[in-house]
Symmetry: C2
Subunit: 276 residues, 2 copies
């Protein structure tokens, strides 16, 4: 990087892993040093992550904040089965930008607080595991249609083993009965994909594992197995804990793998709301 002429050229390798480190550690500090002090402003962003609400419903609720935005700006996004709000402040001093972001975040939380699960890079699974660790409580998961993805996401969090005790991927109906104690009659009467079976799975996995909470999913990921009454993309997620149960029905319409991702996100969102 040559800086003598006032025009700097930085040449970097194409490997993303190498390039990103160089950009952060070498290029950015030099660019900042090249700029006259006091003349440049800092742009600082913060992302609020929400579940349980759609993008348009979210926008309507904070329309006054969106319409009157100047600094910070506020921008809604639709992410992977969640919605996001990006707040961006521009100030000469970092501390002033942070103060602006804090103020706007508080205004957003006054309206949307019950949907905001995390900030910036926080994932649903991280927030859930940390909440369970804080409370000293334990979780077991029973999955049908998500096929292990919920357990996989939860165990991606370092230290998960002190809160996540076990998961059961009960794909086959006989596994739901033998592993979780789901009454055969419930499956016969309501079907494996039903609110009743999801609830029995959540209760069953909590009780057979001795955990405080049970989380369960049952649905039809596709491409086969759907019917007009129970189409591909239909999912039931249930949570059990502290003597309470909650069950949600959702419908998605995507590929097998995208449906699994949507189902897992729906289940984790339901658990997060249950834990609050």
């Amino acid at each position: 990087m040559s800086e003598s002429s006032g025009c700097a050229i930085a040449a970097m390798p194409g490997v993303p892993r190498e390039l990103k480190v160089m950009m952060e550690q070498e290029i950015k500090p030099r660019i900042l040093k090249m700029m006259p002090p006091g003349e440049h402003k800092i742009l600082l962003s913060r992302v609020l992550r929400l579940v349980g609400i759609g993008e348009s419903a979210m926008e309507q609720l904070i329309m006054p904040l969106i319409e009157n935005q100047s600094n910070p700006t506020i921008a809604p996004y639709a992410g992977n089965y969640e919605v996001r709000l990006r707040l961006t402040a521009s100030e000469h001093e970092e501390s002033a930008a942070i103060q602006l972001l804090n103020n706007l975040e508080q205004q957003v939380r006054d309206i949307l607080g019950s949907y905001i699960y995390g900030v910036d890079d926080e994932s649903l699974e991280t927030v859930i595991i940390n909440e369970l660790l804080r409370k000293g409580q334990t979780l077991a998961v029973a999955e049908s249609c998500t096929g292990g993805l919920i357990s996989h996401r939860l165990t991606n969090v370092p230290g998960a083993s002190a809160a996540f005790m076990q998961g059961a991927v009960t794909y086959d109906n006989s596994a739901k009965i033998a592993r979780l104690g789901v009454p055969e009659q419930i499956i016969a009467e309501h079907g494996a994909v039903s609110a009743e079976t999801a609830t029995a799975m959540a209760m069953g996995v909590a009780k057979t594992s001795g955990c405080d909470y049970g989380l369960a999913s049952t649905g039809i990921a596709g491409p086969g197995g759907g019917s007009s009454a129970k189409p591909v993309g239909l999912v039931y997620v249930a949570v059990y804990g502290q003597g309470r149960t909650a069950v949600n029905e959702r419908r998605y319409a995507s590929s097998r793998i995208s449906n699994k991702e949507a189902f897992a996100q729906t289940a984790l969102a339901a658990l997060w709301q249950f834990l609050r």
Copy 2:
């Protein structure tokens, strides 16, 4: 796309999903039509995917093929915990290119056949599920360190439910004992991360589920939980079936999530080799 002047300019939207379809369905056929017949050659590639062998060992075994390559060319790659060989033929006619690729693939298979699990986009999980479906056999999975990822990958395959019966994510030791019937003494004597526990998990999940095969993983994904004797990145994978068992020890050194990915790939590779 204007073609009158002999210089064609194609303008496309930036959304990858839209752009790719347009490229395939609109742009490519027009480019081909613009070229004088008989003057252009077709480039056809085929990727062979291997597990159970490293990139340099693979290269050494097929060094004569690599050194004498002309048409088709042959290029080795290291992928996600597997290695790949890309064969590329150039001919005027597609059928002639296919014939060249078939001939070279056969020469490679004569040397490396026992490591080649798939071609082009075939994944290990697809090959495994299809092999089980073909044989009419069933599989159950017991996961510790992989936390559900093996079951997730297997259930990504459409139709998996006729071969993959259930998975047990036995993170906690008590779950390994209660769910899989792993003898408490084995864990006490050898530790939860050991060849003995992995083997007991594979046998246990096959027997308690009534499945033909059992696949198990136990290891230390990190960042915590390691010791000098059993460091982060250590994994044991075991397969049980048809009265036989096989167990492998591997060591990786990466982040928690990358270790989980390496462990899951190791387990699926072991199962594929066992099924052959």
